[in-house]
Symmetry: C2
Subunit: 341 residues, 2 copies
DNA sequence: TTGAAAGCGCTACCAT
DNA sequence: ATGGTAGCGCTTTCAA
């Protein structure tokens, strides 16, 4: 690796001059001849300034960190892709870390990334605790939450309107004639999930649907979770005729359970999935879903972070809520009893 | 951020002593008392050593870079997840970058990551050119290719046996009675794709199937690509009765086209997809696929890189080929003509 | 217009 | 057993 000294030696100038030529603003007074020699030397040595030395000196690394629960969940992968795209354009390198829904690992990552000198952080937090985030805020460390935030803790965040989405989904199912709607919610320590639950409950109460604890199942976000929970819920007496499911992989697990029970979609049971996917239309029964504007969420989170990075003054906290949309496909239908009647 | 000086001041010792206590090997001679004071000071100040300063000093950053074409393609996301997992355990931070199948961006990333002082690189290359990789090799910069490598360029690599997989898939379709098998290959500058093509052609020739240029379609890896190509291929006279498709999203696009043409799977046309997915069994017709051991590929690539990082001597280049498996589901059936006969 | 020197935070060597 | 010092590669003041 060529260093600034090598370039200086070759161009027969002082390293500081090299630095001035290569980074310096245009209006800095340097002979055109020197400029040329330096540039030529840099080029011939294939000189790339050492960014960690620069970062050390400048106190800024042009790197940001993204901590998401799971890269291989397309929901977060799409968010990551969007942030990666924008940060590249803005001259930032993005470090993507996966907490795997493990709170300790997330905390580790936060510390690790900070000690590596990243300028800011975007986090979809695990939400088992948030002391480390309180700490970040106290130290004025720029960060933005994405998809998940906290009731009890003000912070920059970009989230989607999960409560309204859940309400609308339930309302739609009610219009089809469903009265018993199951909800596979996902882990309930998560803000997003509590909001969905709230929307679900509001709709159930307002629309006089069955309000039954047995209709709500909390678990993880895996295929296996969806499978097991659906099997359990549908095996009880008086099972739901429709299911609202909080995530793609849970949904696929639910589909497996439904097929194994010999039921069919949407004849025996309707489903709405809480995240859309490129395959949703091509499933065994095209899946009605709720779309989150993932690319937009990523862009806005990055923009928000960048604003906080670019300024020295303390910006007020902003919480951005983006709109979801429902994609109606034929995994939903009137319940069988209604058909029969 | 507390620095080593702050800790030293608080513990009333020299910074070098702090360094020794905190990083030093056990058998270094330091009073137990000093040790305690330093540790206490570090703890009370919440001291985290600045990794970029360490990296600068040590010439090692404990960071590796991963460059993949697309994070939101589950194929690469799963590989990334596996590498992320292993590197975390090994004390490395992983920087994930997405080239978006753009050769220039990949080259940018390589330079950027190196100037940021990462220790090594894992790359699924775009494969429009490889001068930058030749350069890496010349400079003994540790790197490992994953999923894609080069015929004309020896380098560490972990790939899967795409040629055999394609052969087996075609053979399986032939056993079902298919004679005209279409191949949506994906971009043919990619090694992986050329290997699949080779396997396809070998099988076609050996098994006396229709060898027709019109049965091979090259394009990108998007949903749109699959849709457009399938529409074109099935609209020509004498269309194939089976399709081998090089990637999930292409497959979903193909399915869209097939449905739009009013055909059904597998009655009118059989499909085999070249990558498996959690949803493959729950598609409109459960999709027969080829599984790549993505987690294993990631692990082996990381291990290979680590070996090269840990040693000073130059290790011989290794090319690891892992086995794929076929998951037979009912997107494949005997062709209609055979049924009729 | 350019050179010299200091220093970002850390560790490794050389003292004592 | 501990302190001092140099230096990783860079930028930025201050001098000349």
């Amino acid at each position: 690796m060529a260093t600034i000294k090598d370039v200086a030696a070759l161009a027969k100038v002082h390293p500081s001059t090299v630095s001035r030529v290569l980074r310096g603003v245009e209006n800095i007074p340097i002979t055109e001849d020197t400029r040329k020699r330096v540039r030529a030397a840099a080029k011939s040595l294939n000189y790339q300034p050492d960014q960690r030395a620069r970062a050390l000196r400048l106190g800024k690394s042009n790197t940001i960190g993204l901590i998401i629960p799971d890269i291989s969940n397309p929901f977060f992968a799409d968010i990551a892709k969007s942030i990666e795209h924008d940060s590249f354009l803005a001259g930032y390198t993005l470090v993507v870390c996966a907490s795997n829904e493990n709170q300790e690992k997330e905390i580790d990552f936060v510390h690790d990334l900070i000690s590596r000198g990243i300028d800011g952080l975007i986090i979809a937090p695990v939400q088992d605790c948030h002391d480390h985030l309180i700490d970040l805020k106290k130290r004025d460390y720029p960060f933005v939450l994405i998809d998940r935030c906290f009731e009890e803790f003000e912070a920059n965040a970009v989230i989607s309107d999960n409560e309204a989405a859940a309400f609308d989904a339930v309302e739609y199912l009610k219009e089809l004639g469903h009265k018993r709607i199951g909800f596979l919610s996902g882990r309930s320590t998560i803000y997003t999930i509590r909001k969905r639950r709230q929307g679900y409950l509001n709709a159930v109460n307002l629309l006089h649907l069955d309000n039954d604890e047995e209709l709500i199942s909390r678990g993880g976000f895996t295929f296996e979770d969806g499978y097991v929970e659906t099997l359990a819920m549908l095996s009880r007496p008086n099972p739901p005729t429709a299911l609202l499911v909080s995530g793609n992989r849970i949904t696929f697990g639910a589909i497996k359970a439904i097929l194994e029970l010999g039921l069919s979609i949407p004849t025996d049971i309707s489903i709405i999935g809480f995240t859309d996917s490129i395959v949703s239309p091509y499933l065994i029964s095209p899946l009605t879903t709720i779309s989150h504007p993932l690319q937009q969420m990523g862009s806005r989170a990055f923009r928000l972070l960048l604003n906080n990075l670019d300024t020295k003054e303390k910006l007020p906290v902003s919480k951005i809520v983006v709109k979801t949309t429902m994609n109606v496909r034929n995994s939903t239908a009137s319940p069988r009893t209604a058909n029969v009647a």
